[in-house]
Structure formats: C-alpha cells, structure tokens
C-alpha cells in the first residue's frame, strides 16, 4: 500500500502539472480538493482519466470521483480494491 500511495502522489503531480510540489508535500490524509492542493473540477476529470489509463478503472459518474478523491489514502484503498491492471 505504501508503494501505491507514493505512486499515486507522483502520478498526481505529473498529470496535474503541480510544479514545485513534491510527494512529501502531499498529506495522504488531507482532502485533495478545496483547500490543500487547490485542485478544481478539471483536475477531478483528469484524475478520472488517470484511473482508467493506469489502473483500468472506469468511472462513468463524475460525482463518484468526489468520494474517491477525498484523500490519497481513500484513493489508494479504492485503487487497490478495484484495479483491473
């Protein structure tokens, strides 16, 4: 799970162009949206694409993303339980 958390952090930094942020800067229990990283609705859609591309997880309902992207830890749990690749 630690590896997946690290991998997710690195991938988020890459696909969302979070320049000047390192994996260590991201608190795995903190909300990804709203405060913190300052992500927005386009970032959420981009993370949905990342889940499909990297892990074969298809989310048709963007509202589902809200639950999954609560924090890195929640996201890692979801990926571990639902990944197809």
């Amino acid at each position: 799970m630690d590896n997946l958390v690290k991998e997710l952090k690195e991938e988020i930094i890459k696909v969302l162009n979070l320049e000047d942020i390192t994996p260590e800067d991201i608190d795995e229990t903190a909300p990804l949206f709203g405060e913190g990283l300052g992500l927005d609705s386009i970032d959420a859609l981009e993370l949905i694409v990342m889940l499909e591309k990297n892990y074969g997880i298809k989310l048709e309902d963007p509202a589902k993303g809200k639950e999954i992207f609560q924090s890195i830890n929640v996201m890692a749990d979801y990926v571990a339980n639902n990944r197809k690749k």
Partner: protein, 567 residues
Amino acid sequence: MIGVLADNIYSPLGSTSEQNYSAVKSGATGLRTADAFGLGQPITASLFPDGQVDADFDAITADCDMTKFEKMLVISITDALSRCQVDASSPRTLFVISSTKGNVDLIDRPGFDSSLAASAEKIARHFGNPNTPVVVSNACISGVNAQIVAMRLLQSGQYDHAIVAGADAQSRFIVSGFLSFKALSPDECRPFDADRIGLNLGEAAATIIYSARPLADGWNLAAGAVRNDANHISGPSRTGEGCYRALQTITQGVDPEEIALVNVHGTATPYNDEMESIALDRAGLASRPVNALKGYFGHTMGAAGILETIMSMHSLADGTILGTRGFGSTGTTRTVNIDAANRPASGSAFIKMLSGFGGCNAAILMRHGAPTESFVSGACARATSHTVKITPDGAWVDGEPLLTTATGADLITELYRAYVKDYPKYFKMDPLSRLGFVASELLLQKCPEAEADDSRAIILANRTASLCNDLCYQATISDDNYFPSPALFVYTLPNIVTGEIAIRNKYYGETTFYVLPSVDEAQIKSLVEASMQDPATRSAIAGWLECPSADDFLAELTLYEKSTNPA
C-alpha cells in the same frame, strides 16, 4: 442599431430558415442516437447524413476546393444572399465568420492549412469579396459575439453590409473532448429540466445579412454586450456574474414587458442552466417567457448564436414562442418562465444569450421596427506607450529589453519565475495561455489600474487559434491509445487565454478572440475601437498572440485607451 436583410439556417432539419422553423414548430428534431466517429459508444447528436453536404454544395457551385465546414458556410451564405440585394463583392461589404473549431479534423493533414483565417479568406473570395474577413472564435458565444462585432463595425461607418455566418462540423476531436468532460447526455438533452444530465452536439451553418441602416418594418440588432465571469475557465459562475452583467448592459432603459422572449443557451448541462436561471433572475427577467432550442438542433457551437437568433426572429414574426423540447419539470433553483409546448407570443423585442468556456458570456437585444437613421459611433481608441513584446529570443516592456537567458518555451517560464512567481496555475496552462498570461502580467505591471471591474476589455488575435494545444489533445485520442484529456481539451479554444487573464485580474469586461490572416496593426486597432462602443469599456489589453508550437511564438500586446478623437 443595424437591420436584418436576410437569413439562412442550413441544418439536418432543412436548408432554409423557413424549413427549419416549420420543422421545429411541428416538433421535429435533428437529434439521432447512433455510433459515430469510431468512439466505440453511441452518441445522440444532430448530424448531416453522409454525403449530404457534398451533394448540396455540388448543386450550387463547381468550386471544388472546400472542406465540409467551408461548404456548409457557402451553402448557407448563398441562400441568404439570394434573398436580398446585397453585393457580396463590394468593398463596403464585410464577412464576419463565427466558428469554434473550423477544420480541426484536418489539423494533421500534411500540407493543409487548417487555420480559420484560411477558411474565411477562401469563403470571402468565393463570393468575390476583397476585404479581410473577421473571424470570431470565442468558444460557444461566437455566434452572438460575431453579430455584436458586425454591429460595431457597421456603426463605425466603414461598411454598408455585413455577412455574418457561423458553422461547426462535428468530429471525433470535438465529441471525444465533450465525452472527457462528462458533458454529453447519452439521450436527447433536457434543457432546464430537473433530470438534465448533459448536452447533445449538432452540426449547422447559419447566416444573417445585416445592413448599417436599421429597418422601420423588420428586425434590428439594437444592443449587444460581452462580459466575463472572471471565475473559472470551464465552470460557469455560481452567481451568473458575466451573464447577468451582459443582460444588464443590453436592457438598460428597456421595459422588461417589451421583451417577448429570452432565448437562452440552455445546453442542458446541470451547471449552465442553473447559472442562466440565476442570471435571468438577477437581471429582473425571471417573468419573461424563456425557451431553449438545443433539443431540436443540439449544440451547434459556432452556428448556435446565429441559428437561434434566426429561429427567434421567425417564431416571433409568426406570433409563436417555440416550446423547449426535452423540458418537463423545473430543475433550476430560480424559476424561469419556460414550457415544453409552443405558446403565443406578444411583443416586439427579444434577447438571445450564450455562455462559453473561458468564462465568456454574450447577449443581444433584437427589436422589430426602429428609426431608419443609421447610427454612427464616434468611439475611438488610442494606443498608449505601454507595450510588451515576447519572441522566443527575448522580451521587451515599453520598448526596453528584459534581462533573460532562456529561449523558446523556457523563456516564458523564466519570465514567470522572475516577474510573476505566485500563480501556480501557470503550470497548468497550455503554451498559448502561458504566453498571453505572462505578457499581460508584464504589461499590467506598467499600466494604471482599470477604472472599474468591467472597464478593461481583453482583445486578442492570431492566425493559428489554439493549434499548438489542439495537436497535443489530438495525441490523446488516437485509436490505439484513446484517453482524451479534459485538461488539454479545455485549452483547445483560443479564447481560454482571455479567460485566464480575466480571472487573474478580476476583469468582468469584454473578452474576445479573433482569428486573422496576419499581424495587421490597423485591423487590430479597428477591432479595439469597435470594442470601445461598449459603454463600459474604457481601456483594452489588445494585440497579437501567436503560438503555433511551444517554442515558436510572438506576443505583441498594447494597452489602448478610449478616446473621443481619432488618433
């Protein structure tokens, strides 16, 4: 105020305005559900059957060197011209073309110039017109925006007639992008309905031919405004800010009871329709009859503003408010006066409004009957000494070079780190937006503050629109690696950079992006002067912003101020 001489709608529902109007009045829709563009899933859209555009085009001309998008425009313009006495080849006639994506499906065809400027010139020359056509590419508001630009250019006295034509053809590029935004409804869209879940796309071309002389017994474009939300590049403002401000501007001094109809954007996405209901309520228009036409045509993008204006003119002339196909029960927090069925209409004026990515909003007031005197505007613009130039090799502010070491794309980031620093969203922007953002920051560091939050317009132009980012997005939709990127798709509109600048500076004024064949200071100045006809506009950040690839670019921005004397 300018007069409507003739119009045409070319859509899957018909080849003339009359055919389209009678089809819609009888309840017909162009929407069909089918597999299209090799996306592996059915979509609901209003598309021309294969071969129809070619056949319709071949029936009117032997000019063969045209794409589907260009043919749609020629078919529409030809019919509109046949209904009036306007000389399309006169130097006193101007072509104003509206499109969001033009020939985007051909951007990777070797040796093909997919620029909207090339298409517009081809079309103007087809009709023998000698002028440089003006292309408005301002996302979904383009069709209304183009009419506003035409009004201002006619009121400037330079032209007698304007042929305003808009079109978009659908493609894998566009449909995949809206799918990545989760913005498409798999079934027929439901504008303003409680169960609406998204939009349908559509293909159409539409044309209105305007005269500088208003008509005593006909439709006139009486007022228009463009305003920015200054909030987000894709999400509509939660307060309907830009839309409300545009409505407020065009209804100044107008008794709401005069307004027979407000034809809204009504895309049927949850956020758009909610935003429009708020804007209408704030503008005191909640009681006026409202309708939306996306359930008949889909969202026809660059054509929508023109097509929906024409449908509204024809329906009011027929004493009818067309029903909103797909609407069932109220699904917005502010109640609007909307109905699925056709209703009788009374009144001699209507409003057409649109909103789009980049935070832009536009509204026009159309009025039947008017004084026949032409209105001539005295609005002028003066270039100040505040300028910014950025090339791959260096940057100059007010003519003085900045000390830089990097070149190409790295230069823009070097300038960001040296002169802006605190705006991490910079790194999410596409190269065109990065260039425009940094150039505007450098310019504004030298300029006086804007007088009011809506008094500074942003007027930018280039030849290649968002080509650099279009190619990046295209790479995400190949057959063997199909993962369309919403973060790239949102930047496949050239006007997003104007939204980025508006958001950064909280500018709620006009934002417009033009596509022109080449850098032409006189033409840009004339477009800036046109923007000064807006009562709110006192200054403008304006100029050329070209970025065909990340390392090949040119920004030349100037701060203009409104003046009353030609300079």
